[in-house]
Symmetry: C2
Subunit: 326 residues, 2 copies
C-alpha cells in the first residue's frame, strides 16, 4: 500500500486525516507534522487517536505520540513516503520555510500534493524544474479554485494564444462582498466571515488580493507565460473602494485579470464594478469563475472553490493520479 | 525541425495545411494523404501548391505530385514523421479503416493528434494501452468540444466521484435547432445548415446522436468509467420529437447525459426540453456546454466547439505539447 505524510493540521489537514483514516482508501497515512512537532502513526491506536483529534478540531500536540520539535521537512524525509500532502499556510513575504520544505522533498524524489500556493506563485519554473530533474511529481489542483479543474483548463490553452482572462478566484472576498451587499459594513462582513469559518483571522491575504494574485500567477504560468507573484498589481478591497464602485446595477467583485501584451502577462487583482450579463456578476459565495478570451471567443469555467473538505478531496484525487502514474 | 504528416484533406485538413504552411510554425509538413492517394511535399514548390489547393478548397488529387493509391497508414509509416494529424471522417459502423490506421501508427511509435473520434469512442482502453506500450503519445483535445478544454476538465475530475453530467456537445444539431426556433421546418433547417457549411451532407451522424454519443463516451472514459459508443442510448432528433417537446418556455436541445449507477456509466443522447435557468438553455449556435454534478455542487464548462479553423488550431496546440514532451 502507498504511504503518505501530511504537513499541516489546520482545516484542510484535518479534513485530509478524516478522508485518509475515516474512509476506505488505498493510501496509508504514516505521519503528520504541524508547526510544533510530529505524530508518527505507527499503529491502529495512533491512527484512531489522530482521527479523533481531526474530527473534534483539536491540536496535533494533544496526541499522546506527539514528538515536539520534529519539524518539516525532516519528519517526512526520514520516512520517505510515496506522497507528501502539504496543507501549511502560504508564506508570501519570504517564501520560507515553504521553499526549503519543497526543495528537500523533491531532491529526495518525493511526490508532493499541495494546497499551498507559496512556491508555485513565487518560483514556478524553479520548482517545476527541480521536480522534473529528480523524478518527483507535483499535484497542485488544490491551489487554484480547488474543486474546479482550473489548472487543467489553463494548461490545455497553453498553445492557443489566450489574449486575456478575467476571474473571480478568491472565495473569501467574494463571500465578504456578498455580505456587504446585504447591508453589512466591510468590517462587520469580515467579522461574520471569520465566525462562519471562511475568512482567516488576518483577512489581508484575501482582501488585499494576495491569495487571488498567487492563483492568477499560477494560471499565467500554466498558460506558458512567465510570471511571479510580485508582478501582480494588487489593489486592496476597502470600504472606500467598494463605495466608489457600487452602483445601482453593478456588483463589486474582486477581479483577477491577465492581459497578454507583446507576449508578456500583465497581471492585476482589484475591486471592479461588474454589470449584469458579465458571467463574473453571477459568481456567488464560494464559487469561482474564470473567463478566457481567445480567437474572438470566450471560454467559461465555473465551479466550487472550497470549503476545506472539498480541498482535501481534490488533494486526494491528485494523489491517486500520481500513484497511478508513478 | 519536427516533421508532421496529415491524413485527410477535408475542411479541417485544409485548415491544418493553411496553419502549417501559411503561418510561421516549427513543424514541417512532409505529406498529406486523402482517401485516394498522397502528396509528399518535398520541396517549396510542392508546399506552395498544396497551400494554394487548401486555400481554394480544392481536392488533393489536383496536386501535380499526387501519387494515386498510396494510402494511409502506409504513406506516413514510410516517412516516420514525429506527428501524424488525423482529420479523416469517423467510421462508427465497423471502426475501419480508422482502427487499422491508428494501430499501424502507434506500433511504429508514431505520435498521433486526431480530430477523429472513431477509435477512442469504440476502443478507448485498447488504443490507450497500445500507445503506452509503444511509447506513442496521443493528442485528442479536438475530439470533444474542440476549442474548449473538455478532455482536460474531465480527466481532472476522474477521482472526484462525479455523479452525473449533462451537456450540449453537438454543434450542428444545436445550430439546426436554433433555425427551427426561428420558424424553419427541420428539413429546411438541415438544408440551410448544409449550405452554411456546418452540417455534413449526411446529417444523421449529428441528428441521430452518433457524434454526441462518441464525445460522451470519450468523456466517460476520461472520468475513469469504462464505456463504448454502443453503450449509449441514442434517441434521434426528429420533427415529431421537437414538436412534442417544444413548449412556451422550453427550448429543445440535444442533451448528452451520463449518470453513474453502481460504479457504471449510464449514457444517453436525446432531445430534451430545457428550461430557463438551466445553463444548457443558453447554449447558442456552435457553443458547447458541459455540466458536472458532484459533491452536492455543479461545475460548468462552456466554450466554442468549432469551426474547422479552430479545430485545426487545437490540433496544432496538441502537437506542440507532444513535441515538447517527447
Amino acid at each position: 500500500m502507498a504511504t503518505a505524510f501530511l504537513f499541516g493540521f489546520g482545516k484542510v489537514g484535518r479534513e485530509l486525516v478524516k478522508l485518509l483514516l475515516g474512509t476506505d482508501q488505498d493510501i496509508e497515512l504514516v505521519g503528520v507534522t504541524s508547526s510544533r512537532g510530529t505524530v508518527l502513526t505507527e499503529g491502529p491506536r495512533d491512527k484512531a487517536e489522530l482521527l479523533r483529534l481531526a474530527r473534534e478540531g483539536r491540536k496535533l500536540h494533544e496526541h499522546p505520540s506527539f514528538i515536539p520539535g520534529l519539524l518539516a521537512p525532516d519528519s517526512a524525509v526520514a520516512v520517505k513516503p510515496d506522497i507528501v500532502f502539504i496543507a501549511i499556510p502560504p508564506s508570501y513575504e519570504t517564501g520560507e520555510p515553504n521553499r526549503t520544505i519543497y526543495k528537500a522533498l523533491v531532491e529526495e524524489g518525493i511526490n508532493i500534493v499541495t494546497a499551498d500556493k507559496t512556491v508555485l506563485a513565487l518560483h514556478y519554473n524553479w520548482i517545476k524544474g527541480k521536480a522534473e530533474e529528480n523524478g518527483a511529481l507535483l499535484g497542485y489542483r488544490a491551489t487554484v479554485a480547488a474543486g474546479t479543474p482550473a489548472i487543467d483548463a489553463a494548461r490545455a490553452l497553453r498553445y492557443r494564444g489566450v489574449e486575456s482572462l478575467r476571474a473571480v478566484l478568491n472565495a473569501t472576498s467574494n463571500y465578504v462582498l456578498g455580505l456587504v451587499e446585504q447591508g453589512l459594513s466591510l468590517s462587520e462582513a469580515i467579522e461574520r466571515s471569520i465566525k462562519d469559518g471562511l475568512a482567516e483571522p488576518d483577512p489581508s491575504i484575501d482582501l488585499h488580493g494576495w491569495d487571488a494574485a498567487a492563483k492568477l500567477t499560477i494560471l499565467a504560468n500554466e498558460l506558458g507565460l512567465e510570471a511571479a507573484l510580485n508582478d501582480v498589481d494588487r489593489v486592496p478591497l476597502t470600504e472606500e473602494a467598494i463605495g466608489s464602485l457600487a452602483g445601482e446595477k453593478a456588483r463589486v467583485k474582486q477581479v483577477a485579470s491577465l492581459r497578454v501584451e507583446e507576449g508578456k502577462a500583465v497581471l492585476r487583482v482589484a475591486p471592479e464594478a461588474v454589470l449584469p450579463g458579465d458571467p463574473l456578476y453571477y459568481a456567488e459565495g464560494e464559487r469561482n469563475v474564470i473567463l478566457y478570451y481567445l480567437e474572438g471567443d470566450m471560454i467559461r469555467l465555473e465551479g466550487p472553490a472550497g470549503p476545506a473538505w472539498r480541498t482535501a478531496r481534490v488533494m486526494l484525487a491528485d494523489a491517486l493520479e500520481i500513484l497511478r502514474a508513478s
